[in-house]
């Protein structure tokens, strides 16, 4: 009984100590009322066109649903220039490995994974970068390969929501 009480106290003490278990100080939030989302740049990396446009479309949907910004503009939208604090999301594909839905369903998690590595950069109204992150997305379980684009959009939206 005594030993179990001691063990309990041993486990509880770190949680009660101030500053020991807290997350690192969050960086100050950025502010912008509108964002323009550009089509992903692929450079020399080979990726089917449907993946490229699916990432773009899913990003637009997810960022709109998150309500992080009052306005979300598509690439090329002329109405965006009316917002002086407009920020722009640029994404660059760094790596793409297309897996196999059949392999994933036969041997989930271990085979057939589709992977995408992306660099996401947000630039301010002056064009200078204000945020730069690397994003890695995967489809390991069920679903078509193109659903990796959903994971990309989810992760980038989360990054934006945490930063703005």
């Amino acid at each position: 009984m005594k030993s179990s009480l001691a063990l309990l106290m041993f486990l509880a003490v770190p949680a009660l100590m101030p500053g020991q278990n807290s997350s690192p100080a969050a960086s100050p939030k950025l502010h912008a009322s509108a964002i323009q989302i550009e089509l992903i740049e692929v450079g020399d990396v080979s990726i089917p066109a449907e993946f490229r446009y699916a990432i773009y479309e899913r990003l637009l949907e997810r960022v709109r649903e998150s309500n992080t910004f009052k306005m979300v503009f598509r690439s090329g939208d002329k109405a965006a220039k009316d917002y002086p604090d407009l920020v722009t999301l640029h994404t660059t594909l760094e790596a793409f490995k297309e897996g196999s839905q059949t392999q994933r369903e036969m041997v989930p998690v271990f085979a057939g994974t589709t992977k995408v590595d992306i660099s996401a950069q947000v630039t301010g109204p002056d064009g200078k970068p204000i945020l730069d992150r690397k994003i890695a997305a995967k489809v390991r379980m069920f679903g078509e390969n193109i659903y990796v684009t959903n994971d990309v959009a989810k992760r980038i939206t989360k990054m934006l929501h945490e930063s703005f």
């Binding site: 089509l39 066109a49 449907e50 479309e57 598509r74 939208d77 196999s100 193109i146």
Partner: protein, 160 residues
């Protein structure tokens, strides 16, 4: 009697308007749900997507052919059988559902239509079509006046 039935059927088919190929809208058309099934056709200088069900916000989504700046054709392996197929696979005993994966595979063509809205905004609408139907649809769109920079041939991906 038989001849009259055959003639009647033939004339009915002849009068039926061309519905276009049956497609699945993956993403990209405003107010149309993801994975909505419907028909894709070209009419009066516009590409129309007519959803099968009325649960979408619009009955018909249309894209002026002149606003189409690029068209890409690709392919994907997907699972046929819909929700029923998924349920059967999950319910099959002793992991035998995984074997069904091999039987329920279907190859589909993927048609990506890139277009600009009235304000210059970029859109990419993605459709899944039965195998072999994306290329004719692409040719129809180009013939109707759509622009494209992508090469016409469909390249089979080795491991979709």
């Amino acid at each position: 009697m038989l001849l009259s039935i055959l003639l009647g059927t033939a004339s009915a088919l002849a009068e039926q308007p061309d519905q276009g190929p049956k497609v699945r809208h993956v993403i990209g058309l405003d107010n149309i749900k993801h994975n909505a099934n419907g028909h894709l056709k070209i009419l009066n200088g516009a590409m129309h997507f007519d959803p099968d069900k009325d649960d979408n916000k619009v009955r018909d989504a249309k894209v002026p052919v002149a606003s189409i700046s690029d068209i890409f054709v690709g392919n994907e392996t997907t699972q046929s059988g819909g929700t029923a197929g998924k349920v059967v696979k999950l319910a099959a005993p002793f992991g035998s559902g995984r074997a069904l994966t091999l039987l329920l595979r279907t190859k589909v063509d993927i048609l990506t239509v890139v277009f600009r809205g009235a304000g210059g905004d970029l859109h990419g609408a993605i459709f899944a079509l039965p195998k072999g139907q994306a290329e004719p649809m692409r040719a129809q769109l180009v013939a109707a006046g759509a622009h494209t920079s992508a090469p016409p041939e469909l390249k089979e991906r080795p491991n979709p």
